[in-house]
């Protein structure tokens, strides 16, 4: 949307007026007009289990900043909409945040489908957008910052570790939508890089509940390792049926999705022990920053079953934006973007998170863990993992006007 003459006049008139009016506001309200922080997360429907901790985490960040005096002397206020696990709601509320509420920044989107539904809206209305979820990589857009991990940061570590020296035959099972499809491609690439062989790749619609035929098929293929990118409640049934068939101790499993909600606590130890996962964060991390964050978030909302990378990255995404505002001394979109592009960083619960100018992704620590007794035990830390997958296709320093999600050819 181009700036119309009417908009320009209105803005030009509003600035001196609001400056004049400020003392009055100071006296009447409890402070300056708040800075609005938009949030679009699912709090009902199938994806709510992921969305709820993210909103709580965002609330925590806002409360902390407010307790410390706000940003630029102004308090922050959350404008949250429950997108109900429904893409249509995402589009509708994105418009509302941009046009009616005129928020300074939006944190939100969970599935890749929801992100692609709202990203163009924030571009059009020039609202800064943060996507704080691990995803398949490739988004190249100067208006968007992606703070979650991408396959080059996690899958690249997970596959070689799980394959070890002698596990060359790999079987891949994944959820049947863009995340699963693209992640399965990355898995195949890393298996090949390790000199292994992918014997089969199977995709499952999200409502598949009976994995009997698949389990037989896997047995017939006799792989050394099973890689899983299964998603959601129905798919947890796989781990259960796998164990009850007695396969648990026969073929090891590594997963890029297991544990994002609360899988380790719902399955019993026999069903989940030894499953490997790699993410940007585990609740069990014992660094002081992590334990402090977990304590604060659990105190604020005791009902959160597990604090995963989703919540931690949302918290850090929010703080990165706050750092950007502090450095820019403004909430203006371009000023904050440019401040962030200088390579701002924040020390969060996951460790140091640094914005990468070229991709608008972040360099962050990655962790590899195994389930033991229904909890994750962190086995390896990979400091400062870079978003190399996106970096291979995206350079916003050279092409700042670039705006698309690349399908990274593997």
């Amino acid at each position: 949307m181009a700036l119309s003459r009417r908009d320009l006049l209105r803005t030009a008139a509003a600035v001196p007026l609001s400056t004049l009016a400020m003392p009055a506001v100071l006296r009447s309200a409890r402070g300056e007009t708040p800075i609005l922080v938009g949030s679009l997360h699912d709090q009902s429907g199938p994806i709510a289990a992921s969305g709820t901790p993210m909103v709580e985490s965002l609330k925590l960040g806002i409360e902390e900043v407010n307790a410390a005096g706000g940003l630029l002397g102004r308090p922050l206020q959350l404008v949250h909409y429950d997108t109900q696990s429904n893409i249509q709601m995402y589009s509708q509320y994105a418009q509302q945040l941009a046009v009616r509420d005129k928020v300074a920044v939006v944190h939100g989107g969970i599935t890749s489908a929801s992100r692609e539904a709202i990203r163009p809206t924030f571009n059009r209305f020039r609202v800064l957008y943060f996507y704080n979820v691990l995803y398949e990589g490739g988004v190249c857009d100067r208006n968007t910052f992606c703070t979650g991990t991408t396959p080059a940061q996690t899958v690249e570590k997970l596959v070689p570790y799980a394959m070890g020296k002698d596990k060359k035959k790999v079987y891949i099972i994944a959820a049947d939508y863009n995340y699963g499809q693209i992640t399965a491609k990355w898995m195949q690439k890393y298996v090949k890089d390790q000199g292994g062989e992918t014997v089969s790749v199977d995709f499952f619609p999200l409502d598949v509940t009976n994995f009997g035929p698949t389990i037989s098929k896997i047995q017939a293929a006799k792989p050394d390792l099973l890689l899983s990118a299964l998603v959601g409640g129905n798919h947890t049934a796989f781990y259960r049926q796998w164990t009850s068939a007695g396969m648990k101790d026969q073929i090891p499993i590594a997963s890029t999705t297991f544990g994002l909600v609360n899988e380790p606590t719902t399955l019993n130890a026999a069903e989940s022990d030894g499953i490997l996962g790699a993410y940007g964060y585990f609740e069990e991390l014992t660094t002081p920053a992590s334990t402090a964050y977990v304590a604060k978030l659990k105190k604020q909302s005791p009902s959160i079953p597990y604090i995963s990378e989703l919540a931690a990255a949302t918290y850090e995404g929010f703080y990165l934006w706050a750092e950007g505002v502090k450095k820019a001394k403004s909430i203006d979109r371009m000023a904050v973007t440019e401040a962030l592009e200088t390579g701002l960083s924040f020390d969060g619960p996951t460790g140091k998170v640094t914005v990468d100018h070229a991709t608008h992704h972040v360099t962050r620590n990655a962790y590899l863990a195994a389930v033991k007794d229904r909890k994750w035990v962190v086995r390896e830390t990979f400091p400062d993992a870079k978003p190399q997958d996106t970096a291979a296709v995206c350079n916003l320093i050279k092409n700042p006007r670039d705006n698309k999600q690349y399908e990274i050819s593997i």
Partner: protein, 288 residues
């Protein structure tokens, strides 16, 4: 040889779980012509009843075989008294009301237990066939399907209640003149249908990921099976569950799970086109 045995077991297992899931619906839809769109949520309630009581320390078998059907049966009775009894003979209204009910149940369970995944471990363990492994629980599900089939058949065919129930379904007016209270029979039948559905939920709980929205994964398949089966409760549901379970599982094994589902739905469309009255409308006329 071992592999074909395992695949045969998968197929039988698919058919057995489908049959268990559909039996309650077949009773409610087939006998009473109520389109119960909350069927999936009855399954979900059965699963939750099992998980909650098993995690509270109750023996898993009691939780599955007693608590789940009793609880959902009682819920079914309450729902029949408060909602369904006003809707007999109003097919479209019953759809709307039970759809609302399904949303309401999902909301209620989400509010109480949260939107996270629950579960209980699978009992029994596995066994070996040559180089392949399968679980005893699969065999147990099959046995339960056979048992439920025999039980429902026995009740409908050999007991006085079964006779009266069938009479009321055929002609409530005539049954009433003979001294039967149709309202009571409807209530009991709905309760039994709900209890059987709850039992199916309980039986599937140890092999599923249990969430408030899990019912939606079952409801479409169940309706297709019941409609594909036609009017006869047992022979119809059994033949349709057998057929669809067979194509779905074999399709999933030889192609991918995606095509397994596609083949199931395609064969359902074909079946309804060729046999609009369902399988039992053509082949098992007059049976139960």
């Amino acid at each position: 040889m071992d592999l074909s045995l395992i695949i045969a077991l998968d197929v039988v297992n698919g058919a057995a779980s489908l049959f268990l899931l559909c039996l309650g619906l077949a009773i409610i839809f087939g006998m009473m012509k109520i389109i119960n769109l909350a069927h999936g949520e009855f399954v979900m309630l059965g699963a939750y009843a099992t998980v909650i009581s098993a995690n509270a320390g109750l023996n898993i078998w009691i939780a599955m075989l007693v608590v789940a059907p009793l609880f959902v049966g009682v819920v079914g009775l309450v729902i029949e008294r408060c909602l369904i009894r006003f809707l007999y003979g109003r097919l479209v209204d019953s759809m709307l009301a039970t759809w609302g009910l399904s949303l309401c149940l999902i909301g209620l369970v989400t509010t109480i237990f949260g939107n996270t995944i629950n579960g209980v471990p699978t009992p029994l363990g596995g066994f070996q066939v040559g180089a392949y492994r399968s679980s005893w629980y699969t065999i147990f599900l099959l046995a339960m399907a056979v048992l439920m089939m025999a039980l429902v058949y026995g009740v409908l065919r050999f007991t006085r209640f079964g006779l009266v129930a069938r009479a009321v379904m055929l002609n409530p007016g005539m049954a009433a003149t003979l001294g039967v209270n149709p309202a009571k029979i409807y209530m009991a039948t709905f309760g039994i249908g709900a209890a059987i559905t709850g039992l199916a939920g309980g039986l599937l709980a140890p092999v599923s990921g249990i969430t408030p929205v899990m019912g939606t994964a079952f409801v479409a398949k169940c309706f297709i099976t019941v409609v594909g089966g036609g009017a006869a409760i047992i022979s119809g549901t059994l033949s349709a569950a057998g057929l669809f379970g067979f194509v779905n599982q074999l399709g999933a094994f030889f192609t991918t799970p995606v095509y397994g589902e596609v083949i199931l739905f395609l064969s359902a469309i074909l079946l309804i086109r060729l046999l609009p009255q369902g399988i039992s409308g053509r082949f098992f006329k007059g049976t139960l």
